[in-house]
């Protein structure tokens, strides 16, 4: 298995969530927005200044800071 960080996935690629790191409220919020283990996400784009990034999860568009995405381990699909 080659695990990567969500923040390292290039625009236009898909990945499956393996583990959400971090702690406390932020981590729970990410879970509550549907980014949970096994979910497939699609990296729609990065903002013009390369941060934040936009992804499609469960059929809707969500944006995360690169800093937040770098705590999420994924498996490229």
């Amino acid at each position: 298995m080659n695990f990567m960080l969500l923040s390292d996935i290039k625009q236009g690629h898909k990945a499956r969530i393996v583990h959400v790191g971090g702690s406390g409220a932020l981590r729970r919020r990410i879970f509550e927005m549907g980014i949970i283990k096994g979910t497939e996400v699609y990296i729609e784009k990065y903002a013009p200044l390369k941060d934040p990034l936009e992804l499609i999860v469960k059929g809707y568009h969500l944006s995360l800071r690169v800093e937040e995405a770098s705590q999420i381990t994924v498996e490229p699909v």
């Binding site: 729970r28 509550e32 283990k37 013009p48 941060d51 936009e54 469960k58 568009h61 995360l64 937040e68």
Partner: protein, 725 residues
């Protein structure tokens, strides 16, 4: 027949179309207030339908009921403690899976829930078909189809809600979320313990309480522990045990595991109740975003929109602003000529009308600005501006959404501070409100123009630019400083939905605009009115001033002399009249200056002179700065009175007067710095107080800005003197 009263709460995700449905249901019968103690807007409306008096409450839009944000706490507390008869959960059909997360949390609380499956037509066009009966059966919740923006299904929704409220059937336990056996064991154990330890004292259902305690929900935990009396320690131990039990088996925090399992439960429901056809339609929203958040043209378009908003607000808004000014002038002219001279007349004209009039002129700007902001919000573009700007704003410790309010500050701080309502996190909002006044507002510009024009002539533009820049730099420094001290803590996570673009509904934009303007007008009625009266009193009293010269006699003398002279021809008469008029103006000006000097305002200014002396501002400057508390525009006119500026062109005259006074370029710079930073005007302070709902923070804002102004002016003045300017 007395109609029965029912309370219906609307819950739902942000962007689920909840507000549209609320507007459809209540129309003009809505009242906007605040939830007690917090800045979250509370909207409610009372309508009579089917023989019932229905109070509809619009709960804040949330993604969950986990009490992290104020919105979530407010929404949950209302459902738990106010016991609405029915909760309608608005579910965005095109976003079913995530919407169901809130729905399952609502289902877990013992309240009567009804689903409004909103925008199912849009979901269908995207190839998603939802079987409502199946969904209703699986969750044991009535489901009604609605299309909010076409006003469809509203009556059916209310009928169903009344039916559900009148149904005395107990909310079934059966169809709630089932967790995996290990978790269920832990929940059951804790539930048993609670049942024995806290009989009949429990405010919420036993199962829900047990689940929340295991999830380490701070609010529930505190409440239950405070109720548990002798059992407190035993209960704490029991909770620890239950949490440990789950952590040991799943190798993660219980709250994470339970979130995970709720989504698992939802996935099961979605699988059964939804059929997705392979048909892929062109996603218009995504295509729009390809342009609007494009790597190359995203920013230029954004700048264009902001520029357009500014143009509309301040350039187009100038015309109605002029009409209002004309109306105010006409009103005072009429009163001036019809009322007999009295103290009351003076108060009415120079106090109330002048004071309130100077603020009410902002109404057109506020209307237009909020029209633009409503458009940005309702179309979904606001989320994109945050997406574009977040990297820059994050550097100051702020959220991308803080950008627009701060930018508005360059126009006028009042709407700017009102615009911070779009920020979700309380800390972000406080911080943004505190630093926005450093964005130099347009009312300060006349002061800059007069001072720089007088002392820096050719380089005036550069100096003004540096002043503006200083404001921005200091706001950044302040932001970083407060983030690491008083407003410590992580900035709000950026986990933000980018909702699909929608065509805004005229009705909702209008309601939004009107609400804001109403708030602004209400403020006119109290704070501004009182403030204007106070300032007027200070400058109009004491009534009888011991003038150093007998101005009246001098004026009479002049008139007598004019009458005595016999000019030889018409030309000579004109010259004489002109000379006399100029001499009279001169005397009247000096009289007015002395009046202001000896009024309470002037006395206060002189009292404060020692405070201003170290920064190179004399008593005249301090009186002018004091008067700027009402509105910054007044500073220039007060300076004009005190420096006895004469002539038709007031600005030119003031420049001449200032240049020949003892003010130096250095003390002018010091004054510029002070004006840039010191306490904002009355209208802004009233808005800060309103939006922060705290006198403490308002006082902090005033104290911080004014002391920063003094310190900065002191530094500039003395380093300037040290360098020999």
């Amino acid at each position: 027949m007395t109609s029965r009263k029912l309370t219906i709460a609307l819950a739902g995700n942000p962007n689920s179309g909840k507000t549209t449905i609320f507007n459809n249901l209540t129309g003009a019968h809505q009242k906007v207030g605040n939830w007690s103690g917090v800045t979250v807007e509370k909207k409610e409306g009372v309508i009579i339908r089917h023989g019932y008096e229905l109070t509809i409450i619009d709960l804040p839009g949330t993604y969950s009921l986990t009490p992290f944000s104020i919105e979530e706490i407010v929404a949950r507390n209302f459902v738990l403690d106010a016991h609405p008869d029915v909760v309608i959960d608005i579910i965005d059909a095109s976003n079913l899976e995530r919407s169901l997360y809130l729905a399952t949390q609502l289902r877990e609380i013992d309240c009567k829930v009804l689903f409004a499956l909103n925008m199912a037509d849009m979901a269908k066009s995207r190839g998603v078909k939802i079987h409502a009966d199946k969904l209703s059966e699986l969750l044991d919740v009535p489901v009604v189809f609605t299309v909010g923006n076409k006003n469809e299904g509203m009556d059916a929704l209310l009928k169903k809600a009344i039916e559900l409220a009148e149904n005395t059937r107990q909310t079934p336990e059966g169809r709630k979320v089932h967790y995996s056996p290990d978790i269920e064991t832990a929940v059951a154990d804790l539930q048993n313990f609670i049942h024995q330890a806290l009989p009949e004292k429990l405010p919420y259902s036993e199962r829900w309480t047990a689940i929340k305690l295991i999830e380490d929900d701070k609010i529930v935990r505190e409440r239950i522990l405070s109720l548990s009396g002798d059992h407190q320690q035993a209960l704490e131990a029991q909770i620890r045990l239950a949490r440990q039990y789950i952590t040991d088996r799943f190798d993660d925090d219980p709250e994470i595991i339970m979130t995970d399992e709720r989504y698992g439960f939802i996935a099961g429901i979605v699988k059964e109740a939804v059929t997705t056809s392979a048909r892929q339609r062109v996603d218009i929203s995504r295509n729009i975003d390809l342009v609007l958040t494009n790597r190359f043209i995203g920013f230029p378009i954004f700048i264009l929109f902001i520029w357009g908003m500014f143009q509309l607000t301040f350039s187009v808004g100038k015309y109605p602003q002029e009409w209002i000014t004309a109306c105010v002038h006409a009103l005072s002219a009429v009163l001036e000529s019809h009322l007999p001279d009295s103290l009351f007349k003076d108060l009415l004209l120079n106090g109330i009308i002048a004071g309130v009039g100077s603020v009410i002129v902002f109404l057109p700007n506020i209307l237009i600005l909020f029209f633009c902001i409503s458009l940005f919000e309702d179309t979904g573009y606001m989320a994109r501006t945050a997406f574009l700007m977040d990297k820059i704003m994050h550097a100051i410790g702020l959220h991308g959404k803080s950008f627009i309010p701060m930018l508005m500050g360059f126009g006028c701080n009042v709407p700017a501070i009102m615009a911070t309502r779009t920020l979700e996190s309380e800390k972000d909002r406080i911080l943004t409100i505190l630093i926005t006044p450093f964005m130099s507002c347009s009312a300060k510009l006349p002061i800059y123009i007069v001072l720089t024009g007088t002392f820096f002539a050719a380089r005036a533009g550069t100096v003004i630019f540096i002043i503006y820049l200083t404001g921005v730099v200091l706001s950044i420094i302040t932001g970083r400083l407060l983030r690491t001290t008083l407003l410590k803590g992580l900035d709000a996570p950026f986990v933000m939905e980018l909702p699909p673009y929608r065509i805004p509904m005229a009705k909702s934009v209008m309601i939004h605009m009107w609400e804001r303007s109403k708030m602004f007008l209400k403020k006119m009625g109290n704070v501004i009115l009182i403030g204007s009266i106070v300032i007027w009193t200070l400058s109009a009293f004491p009534r009888h001033i011991e003038y150093s010269r007998n101005y009246e006699a001098e004026i009479q003398n002049l008139q007598r002399q004019e009458a005595l002279q016999k000019p030889v021809n018409a030309a000579a008469r004109r010259t004489l009249e002109k000379e006399t008029a100029a001499a009279m103006d001169d005397i009247k000006g000096q009289m007015q200056a002395e009046h202001v000097e000896k009024s309470y305002m002037g006395q206060l200014g002189k009292l404060l002179a020692p405070v201003f002396a170290p920064i190179g501002i004399d008593w005249r400057g301090s009186v002018a700065l004091l008067s700027g508390f009402v509105a910054k525009e007044i500073v220039v006119s007060t300076l004009g009175i005190l420096y006895v500026a004469r002539g038709d062109n007031k600005t030119e005259a003031l420049r001449t007067a200032l240049a020949s006074s003892d003010m130096t370029p250095l003390s002018a710079v010091s004054m510029l710095v002070f004006v840039l930073l010191y306490l904002p005007c009355l209208a802004t302070i009233a808005t800060i107080r309103r939006e922060l709902r705290s006198w403490k923070w308002t006082a902090f804002s005033i104290g911080y800005s004014t002391s920063l102004a003094w310190v900065m002016a002191f530094l500039v003045y003395h380093s300037g003197r040290f360098l020999g300017f």
